[in-house]
């Protein structure tokens, strides 16, 4: 059967509408009109009628967008995120098939939006499609359509900038350091005792620290054209905080290389699900297998940003290993027992976040804060910090920094 699909995609994309298995979608939740439009887009796609298919795919995405924005994100039925992925798939293929009107970067961006907002279908087809599109794009241009007008500066991240001013760490409040403890030792002395600790020499085998060292140039090469979510504004507790989507190239140009007045932080993003090539450069610490949870449930987040990014004092429900790949971070830690000294926000959404600005506390408003004992450290590249569940932590980057966090139960 001849398909209307571009030849390069025929290996990764199903060859006919039947192979999409749209009939497994819950039509009663999606509604007959929506399902009709989705099916129309699919039909025309395989007939090579890309313009018409694209029109319907756009209807699908716009309708889904409204569903995804109705009610709380976590309450949105997953079927809407699944069909958002289908819509993105059809749209990306149409854009690639209409390369007189669109370029490959547009198709890659469509895939990324599907990866960011959708839920995987057809064995994570968008990841496989975007890999093919990236290869196709590399064959022609390396950079996206919009070029950054400022020249690239210092694309190699220096190991330790000469002008780096490190905060003075109180020796009595230092987070202890340990060299690669055994699993048993880590479990007994740190996890079970809810004791933060810095583990050294456990990242030496990471390709990101070894033979494929992460640098701005390397990240641009692997992921420059990929669209990622960026947090803008000093901290998420402030009104001026917002999120934006941009390519990794744009993020590096605007927020890392340029001395931007605004802070941009690629924070708490499961980048390694989106870009499997980068996943190859890191290793899940063995310690994450300790505890009750499933290995498959380990959540890996990327934290990439310039000097001066701040994560306000907060706690998370799971165990956390924060691994420093590039750059250094100042971290302060408060135990759960002193929670009333860190004045958590009231209200459902921010109850895990402190109201206090750790490095500039308002002692009139928060008098007990200075009496609370704490631990602090400067986390260096190659080190990983263990943060127990519900342990308050505050993080500030001291230079350009790339951290990888592992959350497990």
């Amino acid at each position: 059967m001849t398909t209307g699909l571009p030849k390069e995609l025929q290996g990764v994309v199903p060859g006919c509408k039947k192979a999409l298995h749209l009939e497994t979608l819950d039509k009663s939740k999606l509604g007959a009109p929506f399902f009709f439009v989705l099916a129309q887009s699919a039909e025309r796609l395989f007939q090579g009628r890309f313009q018409e298919s694209l029109g319907f795919a756009t209807n699908v995405l716009d309708f889904c967008w409204e569903k995804l924005n109705t009610g709380h994100w976590k309450d949105v039925d997953i079927c809407w995120r699944e069909v958002f992925t289908f819509g993105s798939l059809f749209k990306a293929i149409c854009q690639y098939g209409m390369r007189d009107r669109f370029n490959t970067m547009d198709a890659i961006k469509t895939c990324d939006l599907g990866l960011l907002m959708g839920a995987p279908v057809l064995d994570n087809i968008l990841t496989r499609l975007v890999a093919v599109l990236q290869n196709s794009a590399r064959g022609t241009t390396k950079r996206p359509q919009e070029q950054c007008s400022t020249p690239a500066v210092a694309s190699q991240v220096p190991k330790r900038p000469r002008t780096l001013i490190l905060p003075v760490i109180d020796s009595e409040k230092k987070v202890p350091r340990v060299h690669c403890p055994s699993l048993k030792s880590f479990l007994l002395n740190y996890m079970q005792k809810r004791q933060p600790v810095i583990i050294q020499s456990n990242m030496e085998h990471w390709p990101a620290r070894n033979h494929r060292p992460w640098s701005l140039d390397y990240l641009r090469q692997i992921a420059g054209c990929r669209t990622v979510p960026v947090e803008l504004g000093r901290r998420y507790t402030e009104e001026t905080w917002s999120q934006a989507l941009m390519t990794v190239d744009e993020f590096i140009d605007k927020y890392i290389v340029q001395k931007s007045a605004d802070v941009g932080y690629l924070a708490q993003h499961q980048l390694f699900d989106q870009i499997p090539e980068l996943r190859e450069d890191i290793r899940v610490p063995d310690y994450c297998c300790l505890g009750d949870g499933d290995e498959d449930d380990i959540v890996i987040n990327a934290w990439f940003g310039p000097k001066g990014t701040v994560s306000p004092l907060h706690h998370d429900p799971q165990h956390n290993l924060l691994a420093q790949v590039v750059g250094s971070k100042y971290v302060r830690l408060y135990a759960e027992e002193v929670s009333d000294c860190v004045y958590p926000h009231e209200g459902h959404l921010l109850h895990n976040t402190s109201q206090v600005d750790v490095e500039n506390p308002d002692l009139q408003q928060f008098p007990r804060f200075n009496s609370a004992p704490y631990l602090e450290c400067t986390l260096e590249p190659g080190e990983m910090l263990y943060i127990p569940p519900r342990y308050w932590h505050y993080v500030r980057s001291l230079d350009v920094s790339f951290s990888v966090s592992f959350w497990w139960s």
């Binding site: 509604g31 007959a32 009109p33 009709f36 439009v37 319907f56 209807n59 716009d62 924005n69 109705t70």
Partner: protein, 370 residues
């Protein structure tokens, strides 16, 4: 006598079943005739869902278009007992008859499929619908929530406003009520500021919008996540989500000035938010949690407002049509697909007198004097 024009999303042929265009960026005529084909009747109202439209030509003729009976680009026309209000719900077409009964009808034939009882035998006057909420208004000024018509005893649940209500409307997750005294109440989800209480908190029961106290409102409308009202003096008040400029407030930092604003408008004066001064840098507004006034080009007074998912349409007393907000499906009627964050007069109707306007989620129906 009137002429009906349509523009915006047409993916199911709900504007023009004879056209395969996914959307129409320019207004086109839609003939709404009486059964004996006696020229254009006055359209009493239009109600449109994402995939269909019901046009009430006169009060007894219903034309339905779009996705009907599991097929696209359908067209039906049938007679029915006089209707005073109607809305599409997830299940189908709900209609309030002149006699005060609220019934569900088959959108292809008009056959009655089910019926709700008014509380204590009261008559219904109006029915509106959100994502999953169906609200009805009675002639005693009470608001009720209609449940599933399939249930054995379909009795509406009362919604307590505490005052005589003269109009209700729904967005995707919120509801508004306008009282006889001109006060506005809101309830539901508030995450985009659409309740107008100054926060993004939800509100389970109707609360009066404090910021509007002291101003008498005469009409209200709700879009997906935004709310609009007009005062007795003709001022336009907006609150809620402004992500596509549907409030008529800036969506990006820019200077106000004579040459700024929507490039498709030829209106002389730009719209200026009451927060901004001429020549200042205007901060973008994404969520407006407290009602604010939006000035209109050439200071016109509004007679009617209607909202789609992410756009707004307004009718002036002089018979001009203004649109603003999301425009990707041509729902602003200006031949473009760009969004517009400033209320703009629709060129097409400048030489005509517009008498009514109704918005579907992604389109607009306009009636003009013949």
């Amino acid at each position: 006598m009137g002429k009906l024009y349509v523009f915006g999303y047409n993916g199911f042929g709900q504007l023009r079943p004879d056209r395969s265009d996914n959307f129409l960026v320019h207004p086109v005529e839609l003939e709404a005739t009486e059964p004996d084909g006696d020229g254009d009747a006055l359209v009493a109202m239009v109600t449109a869902s994402w995939s269909s439209a019901a046009i009430f030509a006169g009060k007894t003729v219903i034309m339905t278009q779009g996705f009907l009976n599991a097929e696209s680009h359908q067209f039906r026309k049938f007679e029915t007992a006089a209707v005073r209000s109607s809305v599409w719900t997830a299940d189908g077409l709900v209609v309030v008859r002149e006699g005060g009964e609220c019934v569900q009808v088959d959108p292809c034939t008009g056959q009655q499929l089910g019926r709700w009882n008014g509380p204590d035998g009261a008559k219904f006057t109006d029915v509106v619908c959100g994502e999953s909420t169906i609200l009805a208004l009675t002639d005693t000024g009470d608001v009720t929530m209609l449940g599933d018509v399939q249930s054995i005893n379909p009795t509406p649940l009362p919604v307590h406003v505490g005052e005589n209500v003269k109009a209700v409307c729904c967005g995707k997750e919120h509801s508004l009520a306008l009282t006889v005294s001109g006060r506005v109440f809101s309830w539901g989800n508030g995450s985009r500021g659409q309740l107008g209480h100054g926060t993004t908190e939800a509100c389970n029961t109707p609360q009066v919008i404090e910021a509007l106290e002291g101003v008498t409102m005469v009409t209200i409308a709700a879009g997906g996540w935004h709310s609009v009202s007009v005062s007795a003096c003709g001022d336009l008040y907006v609150w809620g989500w402004n992500e596509a400029g549907q409030l008529g407030l800036p969506t990006s930092k820019h200077k106000t000035g004579p040459s700024d604003g929507c490039t498709t408008c030829t209106d002389k004066e730009p719209s200026v938010s009451d927060m901004a001064q001429q020549g200042d840098n205007v901060a973008e507004v994404l969520v407006q949690a407290t009602p604010t006034i939006v000035d209109l080009p050439t200071g016109q007074e509004l007679s009617k407002i209607s909202c789609g998912s992410r756009h707004t349409a307004a009718l002036t007393k002089e018979g001009q049509l203004l649109t603003w907000g999301w425009g990707a499906y041509g729902q602003l009627g200006n031949g473009q697909t760009e969004r517009c964050e400033v209320p703009c007069t629709v060129e097409f109707f400048k030489q005509r007198r517009v008498t009514d306007v109704w918005c579907g989620p992604w389109n607009v129906f306009v009636q003009v004097d013949k």
